[in-house]
Symmetry: C2
């Protein structure tokens, strides 16, 4: 008598035909009549439940009929194939033992709950079908990201999250301190005395691992980071959270065209494999979260991604026969409505490249035209921008001059600038917001619903 | 003419025999005589260098002879097998083009540098053999951790790092705030007014994902976390850092014995696979970092781990014919010297289980004796404790009573206690300090040397 995972039972059912097995899990539903009953059991290993049949020959039949939803039980019984029923097999129980009777107050009774309500019980919501599907997909996609990069020779870098560098603009960074904030903060000469803090200087939580990533790329050729990112944006929108995960690959000997090849290959790999590895979860999402989700995902795998300059994108937008909320302009960013139009225009994913330099970061490769940088955003139907990348400026003089132009402190980033002095290379990288990818894959519309315990302005529970 | 990774060339050399290929990378050494010269080239994809032979038939021969270490170049040439030489093949260059001549100030000239010095150039040290080996092993081990858990049906949970819960003791937690620490902090009624901070309350960086992990284990059966952890300990030792990575699995329907099975299986899987996947790197570590490293690792894979009670361990220590710096006592923790003695006594890894409850955490399963809890530490020869775990107390009354006994606020952890009301299970989990495992695997003796950009008291550079 073997203790099995439900997943194993679903994947290799015939192996257990007519065998006696033992399962442990939680009750999803109980129904009974006078002489027999059914329990839907789940142990968390698989999206689908196992049907348990029990009858009044069991000594504790009356007790079983009163078991509550989410009670934890141990079931022993025979696996019987049921080719004519809606489930492929059922377990005819020879023994059902209770471990813990779930309290009557359990908030996830068998009815629909709003996503808003479920956010107030983030510790329980992964037990619902929707969140069970979403968070298993999250886990599988995270693994696929690692697998893609490891299979392709990238080294995983754990870039530091504590930083003293102010280069990203401290306005977006959290302060990190050991100072007791309930007491007066040490002062010296009328200023905060950070020499008394743990690191002896003011420290923040960094919003990117890119700069550190570039240093490791110049040792390993190709690296990627994948870790949490904190930002202080006070935005209460469906796409903003103050804690989220980012993927940031950096590749040496790689120009903008090579980078687009990598981004396209990467995205197709993730989508193709998650379709294969999470069929039950994505079918559920297709049915209950976003219509035609699977069709959308399959289409991306089979499409060729368009590549066009920012200028060409603006040309197309200007020619479009429609009213814009935000008028498209050559020197400016694309609005959500523009991104949408462009992906619909080309009926698939679009790389928009070579952006106006004044709206992009200092480290981006300056193009020969003196006006644009070799940046690229990937726009995807139904989600807009999901990756942003660029070729990095590898010329020491050019990057220093750009930093001075925008009044950046070059001293503080000497270590970063060293890369341009000690074996500089043509190199590129991109950033992917992990949650944005998950929203795209699952069809969930609010970032709070793809993060296990979301942190947003005013919200830090659990 | 194909652009290749050096790794591909080493792994499938015969495929490229007598072919013309192109490589891009950095110069490790250049030697020349009047008519020909050698370059050792590396592109970061593989631990070993490729030998390039160039001769004075190349139009830029004189220039090449002056190339500096770490200059980035493109080499085209023919792959020639050299069965009688120390390297299996070499490239006879038909063209060598410079991309960036490395500045003469480059600090990593061909001589030995101390680890202390190399920490001051953390952005360059992965280019040295030692740190190239260490950080590639770090990447491979990280992936193996994911692969082990994913192959065994665990769901990866990104537990939040921002927390409002004070249960771990805020003394060890960093404060996280959007308040400008260079200005007076908002006050109300003589106290800090956290309602004006981003989350509307005081927030910290959490030091563990365990409690959140348990909530997800009760939905998915088995989960693991793997992410950064920040702690404020003001310790300048070889084994402490303020930012490090932790792995924390939680498993339902799993008691202490099952947990030890999992820990043993997990550790053997990691060690066995890293030996296979990083032979060049570990041979280097064996030769230059720790003698007999590989033998030590192989031995762990083939040993059976001893399991004994804390009380039995103390019995053995008390009977030992030696002087202790710290006298072993039944109610107390094991000191480093005790851990060492125990692993030597059993000549292999040892699980020490059932610890005195007063020196362990509130959530651990209370044993029937009323004195001990079902905790277990895994002690490994040469490294001491590398994993700490326990069966968790699943009984609502018992855990509440224990919390009250030690004056904990139960209200704040209501969500955590809910797990004991809504389908409680026998469940267990452990924590692994990722860097401690890496020190064990590579033989490196200072935690600062297995973290890409280490943060320790007074040190937060780069």
């Amino acid at each position: 008598m073997e203790k099995l995972d439900i997943k194993e039972l679903f994947k290799n059912t015939s192996k257990y035909k007519d065998q006696e097995i033992t399962l442990q899990g939680w009750i999803k539903t109980v129904r009974d009549s006078k002489t027999f009953g059914f329990i839907e059991l789940n142990d968390g290993s698989f999206f689908k439940n196992v049907q348990i049949v029990f009858n009044n020959t069991l000594s504790n039949f009356d007790e079983i009929c009163k078991f509550t939803i989410s009670s934890s039980i141990t079931v022993t019984g025979k696996v019987v194939l049921t080719p004519d029923a809606k489930q492929p097999f059922e377990i005819q129980a020879t023994s059902i033992e209770l471990f813990n009777l779930c309290d009557q107050e359990y908030p996830l009774q068998k009815k629909r709950h709003s996503f808003e309500y479920l956010r107030t019980i983030s510790h329980l919501r992964p037990r619902t079908n929707t969140f069970n599907a979403v968070f298993r997909v999250r886990s599988v996609v995270a693994f696929l990201i690692h697998r893609y990069f490891q299979e392709n020779g990238y080294v995983y870098l754990n870039s530091p999250i504590i930083t003293c560098a102010d280069c990203e603009g401290s306005a977006e960074m959290f302060n990190l301190t050991k100072f007791n904030l309930n007491e007066p903060i040490p002062q010296k000469d009328g200023k905060t005395d950070f020499s008394q803090d743990l690191f002896g200087k003011q420290t923040f939580i960094t919003g990117t691992g890119q700069l550190h990533g570039e240093t490791f790329a110049h040792a390993f050729g190709k690296i990627y980071t994948f870790g949490p990112t904190l930002r202080t944006e006070n935005s209460n929108t469906k796409t903003h959270a103050n804690e989220f995960w980012m993927v940031e690959p950096e590749i040496c000997f790689c120009d903008l065209e090579d980078l687009m090849d990598i981004e396209e290959d990467f995205l197709k790999y993730i989508v193709k494999n998650v379709l294969e590895m999470c069929p039950e979860e994505l079918e559920f999402c297709d049915k209950f979260i976003q219509n035609s989700l699977i069709e959308k995902l399959q289409k991306v795998c089979n499409s060729t991604f368009t590549r066009l300059d920012h200028k060409e994108a603006i040309d197309i937008l200007k020619k479009a026969d429609r009213e814009w909320e935000f008028k498209p302009e050559y020197g400016e960013d694309l609005a959500k409505e523009h991104e949408k139009y462009i992906t619909e225009y080309f009926n698939g994913p679009v790389f928009v490249k070579n952006w106006p330099k004044d709206i992009k970061a200092f480290y981006m490769k300056q193009n020969a035209d003196g006006k644009t940088v070799a940046a690229v955003d990937l726009e995807v139907p139904g989600a807009g921008e999901i990756m942003g990348g660029s070729q990095r400026e590898e010329n020491y003089e050019k990057i220093i001059n750009r930093m001075k132009e925008i009044n950046m402190d070059t001293e503080e980033l000497n270590w970063y600038l060293d890369l341009r002095r000690y074996g500089s290379t043509i190199h590129s990288g991109f950033g992917l917001g992990f949650e944005r990818l998950l929203m795209y894959i699952t069809g969930m519309e609010n970032i709070r619903d793809v993060i296990p315990f979301p942190r947003t302005p005013g919200n830090c529970d659990f």
